[in-house]
């Protein structure tokens, strides 16, 4: 068995004295693990950092074997984020959430492309937290837990949307919420593609996506949401 693909490195775990097992998100083969022989060497360590874009060749005798990777760097993102604590927290949250949410060996080409774009934004613009929020929405959507923010679930109105139902993930307008408003999740304007997307709004948006990530996704995979995501939200909240 052999294939070649492009991927983003998610994590590295030492395997024996000289090798590592890497977890990558690839374009056509989804999240995939494999051994990199000599992965702890001085030459390979800078290449094998989370977030790096890699050219990968995977080989194994049988398709269900762990297999081994031959790795060539395409571009490193380490230097771009290393001195920016928020961007570094963003990179850690993205890698941790992909590892947490996506099953192995299931292709998600759209999400792969979105993840690459988001990772590229980390060192380019300060507006990436909004892109991160949208990426979490896309992640939920990709896994079948997408939110329907197009119209009010109660009145059918397209205007005045202010809440999200914690049970159905559908938008609810101010009028439709009525006395139930305090039981609904916030729907910040930035989730509707409006407003100035302040850090406060983004944190509100992340609390809404977090509700579904924790309640639906974490529940279905039987794990807790990664701490790296909490650290990112904490930093954003302090900044806002």
């Amino acid at each position: 068995m052999e294939w070649r693909d492009e991927g983003v490195l998610l994590s590295v775990r030492k395997h024996g004295e000289t090798s590592v097992i890497i977890d990558v998100l690839t374009a056509s083969h989804g999240r995939h693990a494999g051994v990199v022989r000599g992965g702890v060497s001085r030459k390979m360590t800078p290449i094998l950092q989370p977030g790096s874009q890699l050219d990968l060749i995977w080989r194994a005798r049988l398709s269900d074997h762990l297999g081994s990777f031959t790795v060539e760097p395409i571009r490193s993102r380490t230097a771009g984020v290393m001195n920016d604590r928020l961007a570094l927290a963003g990179l850690n949250a993205i890698a941790a959430l992909v590892r947490f949410a996506l099953p192995e060996r299931e292709a998600h080409p759209g999400l792969f492309q979105g993840t690459v774009t988001l990772l590229d934004l980390l060192s380019v613009t300060d507006a990436w937290p909004l892109a991160y929020l949208r990426w979490e929405l896309a992640l939920l959507d990709e896994l079948g837990f997408g939110l329907d923010l197009s119209r009010c679930a109660v009145t059918g109105s397209f205007d005045d949307l202010a809440y999200v139902s914690p049970r159905t993930g559908r938008a609810v307008s101010q009028q439709g919420a009525g006395e139930w408003a305090d039981r609904l999740l916030p729907l910040p304007l930035c989730l509707l593609g409006q407003g100035d997307a302040s850090d406060r709004e983004i944190v509100d948006g992340l609390s809404t996506t977090g509700h579904f990530l924790a309640g639906q996704l974490a529940h279905s995979v039987g794990k807790q949401l990664p701490a790296a995501r909490d650290r990112l939200i904490d930093l954003l909240a302090r900044q806002g």
Partner: protein, 199 residues
């Protein structure tokens, strides 16, 4: 295959567990030791026995020494208000080899890692905070690895010390001494360019 006597086999099995050695290289090493038992094996056995009896972690910094407080922490000349935070004892020894740092150290014992479930409580961060509060520290040098995990830990510690009033610095990143640009990865070149200095 002819087996070595049982006692020697035990020694070979133990040696094979050392980093860098496998069963075959352990066998060669043990054979070499046995052949030179007067010059090597006996002194080594004595030294190992002594180290096994005396080696311990310094209660202050986490360095390995032969007393409760290591030689660096008990040297009053090194109480200059600077503390260098390293990931591992090997990093501390590397810094000491360079003989350029005259302050004291703090060994964290790892870096924050979500993958390995290493949080702040698993590292010696609370002890670092208490040392900074009680030892009159004016500067904390964060000498952690230039990796994602290392720098995540740097930012975490910097966050914790934000209101402590101590100066926080970290090691520079860039071209190593003797390094050739052609052989450097693009991340290192990028870091070096960002940290360029005026001549």
């Amino acid at each position: 295959m002819t087996q070595a006597p049982r006692d020697i086999e035990v020694l070979i099995d133990l040696m094979a567990k050392l980093p860098g050695l496998g069963p075959r290289s352990a066998r060669r090493a043990v054979l070499h030791l046995v052949k030179k038992r007067g010059a090597l094996l006996s002194p080594m056995a004595d030294a190992m026995q002594t180290v096994a009896a005396t080696a311990r972690e310094c209660v202050e910094c986490g360095n390995i020494g032969t007393a409760d407080t290591c030689a660096i922490c008990s040297d009053p000349k090194r109480a200059n208000g600077e503390i260098c935070v390293v990931e591992d004892v090997a990093d501390l020894w590397a810094m000491e080899r360079a003989q350029v740092f005259q302050g004291r150290y703090h060994v964290l014992g790892g870096t924050l890692s979500a993958l390995d479930a290493v949080g702040p409580d698993e590292l010696r961060i609370p002890k670092l905070m208490s040392r900074i509060a009680s030892d009159g520290i004016s500067e904390v040098i964060l000498a952690l690895n230039a990796t994602i995990d290392g720098q995540t830990t740097v930012h975490y510690i910097a966050d914790q010390l934000e209101n402590s009033g101590v100066r926080m610095t970290s090691l520079a990143q860039g071209v190593p001494i003797g390094g050739e640009l052609d052989y450097l990865d693009d991340g290192t070149i990028s870091a070096a360019l960002k940290a360029r200095k005026s001549l």
